[in-house]
Assembly symmetry: C2
DNA sequence: GGAATAGTGTCTGTTAGACACTATCCC
DNA sequence: GGGATAGTGTCTAACAGACACTATTCC
């Protein structure tokens, strides 16, 4: 397939001869903190939008990142220490106006993780913080406020017909905790019997042992059966 | 917000100092042709993969394209003459190996259009053709065979709970034609009464007039009510 | 026993599948 | 009437919401 002239073409190809957009990967990282669905935000230490809150992300490292997902995992690891989150590509936004430096496209991922303390960088000026999605700061960098809303819409849509919110919990968990995580994501209460009946019918959980709490009857502990992490009802 | 030093930063910013990936937009364009779900393919006239079949797309034109969607619409118009198709972003694939020229990312859109004769370019070596999704050619360029399969999976998933396949029909259409389009996309037959009952309950169609055909009772003609093009059942 | 939480039984209304039925055209 | 296609009536099984009920713990 690679005949003589294709080899010549590739040898002399130089991307710097062309105008290319800025290409980045950004992450909307969700966790539940004290009953609030929250996202991880970073206060920018550099221009542009210095001092404004943003979602964690950055330019693709052509040497270090083998793929877009690799790039997303790299920043996620840097900010949270978590290696294997639930990570899904939301989509890509690209236009001529979103970045003052020029035509910019960013591939947006969203991640669901059990809550952890964020990793603060050494450089003093940057800050990392969990912020409830209901009280995001004004004046966020770029179009990041929009990106969060879009990821949130997707998350809520999927929460209604999948077990996605399970990734917001520490393992193992009780059915009540699981239902509560779903309710926090969806912003409305769910009916206990319906919730459990559907989950039981799907056969995606396995019991482990028992846990006692300060009050009431002890609840059975569960974890997701291996391979069912992306389970969708009716799929 | 833009203080003195940010203005300085922006004035001296030069993207060419950095290594950036190749950035393109590709389109999986679906139509129904003689009862077969088909995609529009282009035989490449240039390196790399010269002479191989590919999906239509290309690099972003930083001057001409205001956004990624604009870029997708531009190629779609060039190949089909259609200005306002159903167009949805599927997702973005980016890694170091998919293009022999270097780190490459492509934003993949999928479009649904009523069948039209493709527009052949003047340049003789390039060809444009509709190909049934069941008989795609071997040795397609880049990872385009994968991209088609992924878009197809998404299309089939959405066809089960939305009225998406309506965009594959010419207006107006009969309910039987609409059902048939759904069946072609899904690859299985649907139950007539259930199909119509659900559609009627959704109240997304409006009747127009009558059409008679060579055989049997004439069927009522319908079109989608304005604003319901993206309707989803149970949404 | 009482408070608190976990977990179940069961009625009811809605919806999808199955399939036989009627309706309207052409010949 | 017969062939062909459009469109409907209706039975049944599956499932979700509602809500009252039982179960198990600590005090």
């Amino acid at each position: 397939m690679t005949d003589r002239s294709e080899a010549d073409y590739l040898r002399s190809y130089d991307i710097k001869r062309y105008d290319t957009p800025l290409a980045s990967v950004d992450n909307v990282i969700f966790a539940i903190r004290e009953s609030w669905l929250s996202v991880l935000l970073v206060k920018r230490a550099d221009f542009p939008y210095k001092g404004h809150w943003s979602i964690p992300g950055g330019f693709i490292d052509l040497k270090g990142d083998a793929s877009l997902e690799d790039c997303a995992l790299r920043t996620l690891r840097a900010k949270t220490g978590i290696d294997s989150p639930y990570l899904e590509q939301w989509g890509t936004v690209g236009n001529a106006t979103r970045d003052p430096r020029g035509w910019s496209m960013t591939c947006v991922y969203f991640a669901l993780i059990p809550w952890v303390e964020p990793i603060q960088p050494k450089a003093g000026s940057e800050q990392v913080a969990w912020v409830p999605v209901d009280s995001l700061p004004e004046g966020m960098a770029f179009d990041h406020a929009d990106l969060i809303q879009l990821a949130l819409t997707r998350l809520r849509a999927k929460a209604t017909y999948s077990i996605l919110p399970v990734h917001l919990l520490h393992n193992p968990f009780t059915l009540t905790e699981f239902q509560r995580a779903n309710e926090i994501v969806l912003g409305r209460t769910l009916e206990k019997k319906s919730f459990r009946r559907r989950l039981l019918a799907a056969d995606v959980l396995e019991e482990i042992g028992e846990r006692r709490e300060g009050m009431g009857r002890p609840a059975a502990l569960y974890q997701i059966k291996a391979g069912y992490e992306g389970f969708v009802f009716g799929g």
